[in-house]
Amino acid sequence: MITFFLFSALLLIFATGAVLRKDTLESSILFLCTAFCASALFILSKAEFLAASAIVSYTALTIIIFLFTFLSMDTKERRRKRSLLPFGIITAIAFLTETVLLFVSFIPKEGCSLCKLSLTLSARDYPMLNKDNAWELSYLLFGNLWFLVIITGIILFLIMLCVMSVSTAKTADTEEK
């Protein structure tokens, strides 16, 4: 219960910061923190697969927002942002350490080397895959909710076509050139 209230408070603080900060890059970082706190709450409500999907999706979205915002800046603003480089390096090291720790936690207890891991890789050795969360979810999605999955797929396909046509459409300036 304490964990729930802790992550709820963090979620609200980060979301408020993401909305109120003036700098777009800081807002997107705070939004990523919001997504991480929301993922922690998903895990507390026993929705581990949703939490993993949310982290992966929102991290990709934040990276693309970063690139887009950075490209839309002028040169002076870009130079000003270089002062944030040490914080970026510290964050990158923290995330890298977290990833390594996560990877190490997957190593089976019998063989603790990476070579043995690649040889003995199977669903039985992974503690995460022993849980029935993903299996139950897949049965549900492709069983009871198959029509919803198909409609979602069609909508995503249409969105992909729209994004391609919008981003490659010629503007009036381009046609004049």
């Binding site: 219960m1 998903f42 929705a47 887009f68 979810l137 999605l141």
Partner: protein
């Protein structure tokens, strides 16, 4: 220990309020509008996940996953429109700056 659904509902309402506040009053540029929109959708997904956890059923998680997929698709569509807007106008600001820096 199962967390009561009322807590999730209150939290989702607060998150929804923050997102709507951002959409209504903090529309300085397109990316900020996108982030506010994503916060609103995150509130909906949180509500689904909380309901699924409370009912001890995977249905809430499944609906949350589908909502997440649609949210990400919508975000990329929004980014595509933002890119088209940027190519046309050269900036992503929706409101003109009061004191533009030269």
């Amino acid at each position: 220990m199962t967390i009561d659904f009322a807590y999730y509902l209150i939290l989702s309402s607060l998150l929804l309020f923050i997102g709507i506040f951002g959409m209504a009053f903090r529309r300085s540029n397109l990316i900020r509008v996108l982030l506010s929109l994503q916060i609103i959708i995150l509130a909906i997904i949180l509500c689904f996940a909380g309901l699924g956890g409370f009912m001890e059923d995977r249905m809430g998680e499944a609906y949350g996953l589908i909502t997440l997929l649609l949210a990400i698709g919508e975000a990329f569509l929004f980014l595509g429109i933002s890119y088209a807007y940027f190519r046309k106008s050269g900036h992503i600001e929706l409101e003109p700056k009061e004191n533009p820096k030269v």
